[in-house]
Amino acid sequence: MASYLARRIAQMALTLFLILTVTFVLVQAQPGDYASFYALNPDLPPDVKEQMRATFGLDRPVWQQYLIHMRNTVTGNFGVSFGHFPRPVLEVLAERLPRTIVLFGTATAASVYIGFLLGKAIAWRRGGLLEYTATISGTVLFTAFTPAFALTMIWLFAFRLGWLPVGKFLDPLVWRDADVTSTSVFSFMLLTAVAFVGFAALVLFISGRGDRIGRRWPATLALAAGALVAALAWTLSGIGPLALDILKHMVLPVATLTLISFAGTMLLTRNSMLETVREDYVTAARAKGLPDGQVRDRHAARNALLPVVTSLIYSLIFALDGSVIVESVFSWPGIGLTLLEAVRSEDLPLVMGAIVFIGFLSLLSHLIVDVLYAYLDPRIRYQ
């Protein structure tokens, strides 16, 4: 496993290098550079413009820029953003990347979860009303034009009904008197989520070790207590309303993304499960006298999960790709929107930085899914 991981990481580095090179060429292929935005500004004397170009290194030959850039990237120096001057690229990304990860992570988790639940339900009971409703609405949503559907959602829930904010990350009115930054509140929220997931995993692990068969309440109680403690901590901290504001802004984009993509997982789960229900181990599970739900979940659906996990790679990468469109429509200040702005303004260091991290995330999620797959299917072992 260790040598496998080492090999995979080396491949990832090579892939990243190729991505970076291609991106650099593409940005260079655009006419002009960052300074040319100021070329037509009559208030700037020509020598100031030249000085700007010299400061950013844009006066050097392209190959030199490329080499300098690559050297800096390798040493972890992503430079300074032109557009957000003088903030370093890393600082801009550190603020925006988590927002994208949380938004799309939540949406992907929700759509895979809902898709899997619906998929296994409609495969288990064929021909019901649920099957027709879920299949038709899921397919319609799946094939809908993303920006149009996102705008419809905004129109309906934010404009007509007024239930949710139109877009953006937070409401300035709520934050006017706040003495904390949105980034730190967001970090706390993230920390809480991670801590709770870790706690839940620990509780489930410990309860699985117990000797009594079929006793569930201690684990449920522990989880409820954990949730209560977290809720209490947030209420007492005084920044609860701020976190709530961020959550409110997340609802619409997450719902939109989930609705658009759940059908993919649903139809895949359904097809995969129509295969597994015919397997002999499912008959064997029924013959063993297991309750219907256990036969479905532990055997039929558990095995149907394997191809679904493979498809997770595509959904994750699709989500990162789609972040450019969805974040623009919802004005969500994540990495997609940042990338779009940076490309438009030829903010070369920021484009490169954003691409490095998007590429890295794609490759990392690919690796995680592969490892997860080996964990879920004992027949697969890497060496």
Binding site: D211, R212, E279, D280, Y281, G289, L290, P291, P378
Partner: protein, 342 residues
């Protein structure tokens, strides 16, 4: 009715039957029409007895096994009969009640070739799952000890608990499946082609062990197979099925020694005998009938050398000779007498 009573005592010679199947009929609804998978199947199984069910593929052997456990597909319809387990009709039980019959009272040994072990769980876990589902043990340690005992019983190493099915050989998998079938101390084990996928040596060893376990635990076993050698080796009585009907039933030795039904004879002459005289193998001409549109009269008449006009028109009566009976107009033993009740 005296004869009918005598017929029943064929199954209950040793003790009161644990299982009695009466007039069982099953159909599958298909687009081509109803397939009559089982017609009027009746037999009894005594405690500790081993019964063989033989016949060609598609004769209804597996459908019969599935009826006993009520593991039927959605398009199956039971159109008659009863399956009495200790006097209680399994076919009338609710879905919840049948769950406690499955594995607890009647369990199944699947073919090794069939993937009856779930590939993503450890073998021991899958045995444990049955134990937990029926509350046979209440603690995890108790469950694990029970699995270890079962593995010892079938000759498996305790380490197999932590192995995945793909890490085991065919013979080991088959032993694990047998251990699984015994997990909840069932009264009856149905072994559906238990050794078909194994090589002859492993097959023989597994059969011997099944027989030893059966004697040790006093369970009844129904062997479903098309392999006459298996039947001859391990069963007390044998039932021969053709086109969804039980056409002959009796002590294994007498059915093999002097079959009453021409189909039984044809089936046996298509198998080589190791100990008997060398003879050419006779293969039975023709195909089993289409059960969506079975021939009138005796279903075997299109392939039968002894068929007459009577066979083509009317259902054959049940004729008996001692404990053995067959459904035939022209039984091979002249001294077979018609049985009442039908």
């Amino acid at each position: 009715m005296a004869e009918a009573g005598g017929r029943d005592s064929a199954g209950g010679g040793r003790a009161a039957p644990i299982l009695r199947v009466e007039g069982l009929a099953l159909r599958y609804l298909t687009r081509q029409g109803d397939v009559r998978a089982l017609e009027d199947v009746s037999f009894a199984l005594a405690r500790g007895e081993s019964l063989g069910l033989v016949g060609e593929s598609g004769c209804g052997k597996t459908s019969l096994a599935n009826c006993l456990m009520r593991l039927l597909p959605d398009n199956a319809r039971l159109t008659g009969g009863e399956v009495l387990l200790d006097g209680e009709d399994v076919l009338l039980l609710s879905e919840d009640e049948i769950r406690s019959v499955r594995w607890r009272r009647i369990s199944l040994v699947f073919q090794a070739a069939m993937n009856s072990l779930d590939p993503v769980y450890r073998v021991g876990q899958q045995v444990l799952e049955a134990i937990e589902a029926h509350g046979v043990e209440t603690t995890a340690t108790g469950g694990r000890e029970r699995v270890a005992r079962l593995f010892r019983l079938v000759g498996l190493d305790a380490g197999v608990f932590e192995r995945y099915p793909h890490e085991l050989s065919g013979g080991m998998r088959q032993r694990a499946v047998i251990a699984m079938a015994l997990a909840c101390d069932p009264d009856i084990v149905i072994a559906d082609e238990p050794t078909t996928a194994l090589d002859v040596i492993v097959q023989d060893r597994i059969l011997r062990e099944l027989k030893r376990i059966q004697e040790e635990l006093g369970i009844s076993i129904i062997y479903i197979t098309h392999d006459m050698a298996v039947v001859a080796e391990v069963t007390d009585r044998v039932g021969v099925m053709y086109a969804g009907r039980l056409v002959e039933l009796g002590e294994t030795a007498s059915v093999f020694g002097s079959p009453l039904h021409p189909y039984t004879e044809a089936l046996m002459s298509s198998f080589p005998s190791v100990t008997g005289a060398k003879r050419p193998l006779a293969s039975l001409a023709g195909e089993p009938p289409d059960l969506a549109d079975p021939p009138p009269g005796c279903a075997f008449h299109p392939r039968c050398a002894h068929a007459t006009a009577l066979c083509r028109e009317q259902r054959p009566p049940r004729v008996g000779l001692g404990d053995q009976w067959a459904e035939c107009w022209h039984p091979l033993a002249a001294d077979a007498v018609p049985l009442g009740g039908d």
